[in-house]
């Protein structure tokens, strides 16, 4: 469902793995699965929460938990990050594995993609090796039916030795059956199913030589067969986790250590090196998955996958891919700008009508002037501006973007742009984190966890702010409308606005490439690391649900933030404008103080001050500018963009001011929430400071260059 209030802003931060059982009878269920199989949808449907969903691998980067009551029992569901395996090659895999092993889960539901079942069974088989209390939830059965894939769930269940249920979580299909299966698995326990994966004889012999010893040491806490295999595999991360969670250090135990050494020697004698063992284990799992699917999955028509290939042939085509990407973005902007005009007008008319009534009320009550000034002209008016100017574009852009996300387009963007990221020695998945940044930079920063290499993740974090978030779009849109196309409306002028906005975004993307490249050659030196990028099947977006949920969610979120941030800011501005020090107001003093520096950047003191005050939320920058000008200049009724432009021009705005304000809006410090998130994600003050400084310095440099060049050329 795209980003939600829950997954953006402060909600983007981690919840950790602390499970609070409210009653001893509560069952803890871990939801595991490959990335992008609808795990979060299953989670949301069952818990009623709004975990971010969307059609691209890696959205769930943090764990989330919620509860579901079924037949009188409470189930605590834990949404684990999507992983392809539990072999702990990455941070997410380690989180998922450790939770399944040590998190106290009573059962694990492994969610699978029915359209790509064999690959998903890898994880299923690995999970069954750890615990018998597994239910396989074959999700996206509706998509599989469309693709003419038949799945014999009963046969699959026989092959795997655990319950298998089919589901289409988006429409709620199969979730009852899933809960029923989980209920029986967690309440009654299960006989240990036959070992799902059989290895070659020497490996089985090595496992057998360790298993009885471990069985005694582990005392039923973990599968001894699985631990034996991991020990043979020299899985250090598991040994560390065993120490932390069970207080059992197998390598420090003389009996285990000796047996392990013997087993390894015997393997070596058979010509199986540690690397060779891993290969054989991996191959055994893949072949077991192939075997489990052989008689349970049938593809009725081989061509049924052709639809996706046909779409890809256009959307990721050498020649049409990038033009279509730009056209789609421009179309989204055009719809946003066109669609936002009218509601903006209605909202401002309505809200300023209310302001007049409020004033009447204050007069009627004989309230003192300062109270009316502070509350109505300060707090209320800035709120009204935030809501009327900022809300409509956000409420339109957001669901549109979410539709593209649900459809599965974002990984294609990453595919189209990857080469540029490689040239910048960065990760192609950075494109996905940038797309997240369109919604909310804080969410984009958290999304950077999908990038495995720490160096590349830092690059993505530092440059994320070059993508303007939802809160900055309306600022750009209103300036473009006022200064470059006129507020006359009409398809042509909104088309032009969209084209200019597209240009600004492209500039942000180009800056991202340059700065990433610069970072790769200076403070974050390195070569691009390997990566695999999955291009998931296209899915029909749930249009109605997306519209309702994201408008509703975003509306509440933005209004909440407006109250929390804009209201005190409005009060502050009013106070600054009305408290006189010497011969001028505090506001004028501050503006005058910032003026010389701001002038170098092509702006003025008020604008720079608005950006500084907008640190908690970029949505309030334009309203603060307007408030500040109105407080110092004549108070006229400002209900549309014409009048607004007049106000700005009266205060010395030229086209250069507009350009520099837009550039600075695109490139300046991240908002406070984003900074906090960066601090939390990097756990380093240094990198937070760098993430703050890089876009700020770049923005200042660009603004200074543009302003100076324009002035020298006599253009402004």
């Amino acid at each position: 469902m795209g980003l939600t209030a829950h997954s953006t802003g402060m909600g983007a931060l981690d919840q950790g793995l602390q499970i609070a059982r409210r009653a001893p009878g509560d069952r803890v269920i871990a939801l595991a699965g490959n990335p992008n199989v609808g795990k979060s949808t299953v989670f949301n449907e069952l818990t009623g929460l709004n975990q971010h969903t969307g059609n691209w691998p890696g959205k769930t980067v943090a764990t989330a938990q919620g509860t579901h009551t079924y037949r009188g029992s409470d189930y605590i569901l834990v949404d684990l990050p999507g992983t392809y395996s539990l072999l702990a090659h990455s941070a997410e895999e380690e989180v998922a594995r450790d939770f399944i092993c040590f998190g106290g889960a009573d059962g694990v539901a492994v969610v699978c993609d029915a359209t790509c079942l064999e690959r998903n069974l890898n994880l299923v088989l690995q999970t069954i090796e750890i615990t018998p209390n597994v239910v396989v939830c074959v999700n996206l059965m509706d998509e599989a039916r469309k693709k003419q894939i038949d799945i014999d769930l009963e046969q699959l269940s026989r092959n795997l030795g655990v319950p298998v249920v089919g589901a289409a979580a988006r429409s709620g299909e199969g979730l009852r059956e899933l809960m029923e299966a989980l209920s029986s698995v967690t309440h009654e326990g299960r006989p240990t199913p036959p070992d799902p994966i059989r290895y070659t004889a020497p490996i089985e012999a090595a496992i057998a030589s360790l298993q009885p010893l471990l069985e005694e040491k582990l005392a039923g806490r973990l599968s001894p067969r699985w631990v034996a295999l991991k020990l043979l595999d020299q899985d250090d991360s598991l040994t560390a986790s065993l120490r932390t969670h069970l207080g059992f250090d197998p390598l420090a135990d003389p009996a285990v250590a000796a047996a392990l050494e013997g087993a390894r020697a015997r393997l070596a004698a058979e010509g199986i090196t540690p690397e060779g063992l891993r290969d054989r284990v991996a191959a055994a799992i893949v072949l077991a998955a192939e075997g489990a699917c052989a008689d349970s999955v049938t593809l009725r028509r081989a061509e049924s996958r052709d639809r996706d290939r046909k779409i890809d042939a256009v959307l990721t085509n050498k020649w049409t891919g990038i033009p279509i990407m730009l056209a789609l973005l421009a179309a989204v902007f055009w719809i946003t700008i066109t669609g936002a005009n009218y509601p903006s007008q209605w909202l401002s008319n309505a809200l300023f009508w209310v302001q007049d009534r409020l004033t009447d009320l204050f007069v009627y009550l004989h309230a003192p002037d300062w109270l009316h000034g502070a509350l109505v002209l300060g707090v209320y008016r800035v709120l009204a501006w935030v809501v009327s100017v900022m809300l409509p574009p956000m409420a339109i852009f957001f669901p549109l973007f979410t539709l593209l996300e649900d459809f599965g387009y974002l990984p294609r963007v990453a595919f189209n742009l990857d080469h540029q990221f490689k040239k910048a020695c960065a990760c192609g998945k950075q494109a996905l984190t940038m797309c997240m940044g369109f919604g909310c930079n804080a969410a984009g920063i958290v999304g950077c966890r999908i990038i495995d290499s720490p160096r590349e993740r830092l690059i993505a974090i530092i440059t994320n702010n070059f993508v303007p978030c939802n809160g900055r779009f309306p600022t750009l849109i209103s300036i473009i409308t006022m200064f470059f196309v006129g507020a006359a409306g009409g398809a042509l002028s909104t088309g032009l606005s969209a084209a200019i906005l597209l240009g600004v975004i492209v500039l942000g993307v180009v800056m991202t490439f340059w700065i990433s490249r610069l970072l790769s050659h200076t403070i974050l030196k390195g070569v691009p690391s390997s990566f695999t990028l999955e291009l998931p099947p296209y899915r029909r977006p749930q249009i109605g649900k997306v519209l309702v949920r994201s408008v509703f969610d975003r509306t509440l979120f933005v209004l909440g933030r407006a109250v929390a941030v804009a209201a005190p800011a409005g009060l502050l501005i009013w106070l600054m404008a009305n408290i006189q020090v010497g011969d001028a107001s505090v506001l004028l003093h501050c503006a005058h103080f910032l003026d010389p520096f701001a002038h170098l950047l092509g702006m003025d003191g008020v604008i720079l001050m608005a950006f500084i005050l907008g640190f908690p939320a970029n949505e309030i920058v334009v309203p603060i500018i307007i408030m500040a000008y109105m407080a110092t200049g004549s108070l006229t009724d400002m209900t549309n963009l014409f009048a607004l432009k007049e106000l700005l021009v009266q205060n010395g705005w030229t086209w250069l001011t507009a350009v520099c304000t837009m550039l600075f809006c695109l490139m300046h410090w991240p908002c406070s929430t984003t900074c906090l998130t960066i601090g939390k994600e990097t756990k380093s003050l240094k990198w937070t400071a760098i993430s703050f400084a890089v876009p700020t310095l770049v923005g200042m440099l660009v603004c200074f260059t543009v302003a100076t060049a324009a002035r020298l050329l006599g253009l402004a």
């Binding site: 090659h89 790509c116 690959r119 080469h419 390997s530 291009l535």
Partner: protein, 92 residues
């Protein structure tokens, strides 16, 4: 059926060609990751589509579409299966 089989790098496949994995030269984490997505000896891989700059390239691997960069696909050795263009994808 075509019987001429050549060892090539996966990265050398042309769009539409299918090949069978012979060996993975990558070591360490990337080798594991390739195995996780089902690339082992004998796995069929079809080259679907190159991107604008010719890199990365999208491959069909066990029913999933995975894009790989040149550096990585060059580390996977394959036997080309030449003319088997219509049979791939039946198994997934």
């Amino acid at each position: 059926m075509n019987s001429t089989q050549d060892i090539a790098r996966l990265g050398a496949l042309k769009e539409g060609q299918t090949a069978r994995v012979k060996d993975i030269l990558q070591e360490g984490t990337m080798r594991r990751r390739l195995q996780d997505i089902g690339i082992i000896e004998g796995t069929r891989i079809k080259c679907l589509q190159k991107s604008f700059w010719g890199d990365p390239v999208a491959y069909l691997i066990r029913g999933a579409v995975i894009a790989l960069r040149e550096e990585d696909s060059d580390q996977i050795l394959v036997e080309t299966v030449g003319l088997h263009r219509s049979a791939e994808g039946l198994k997934s």
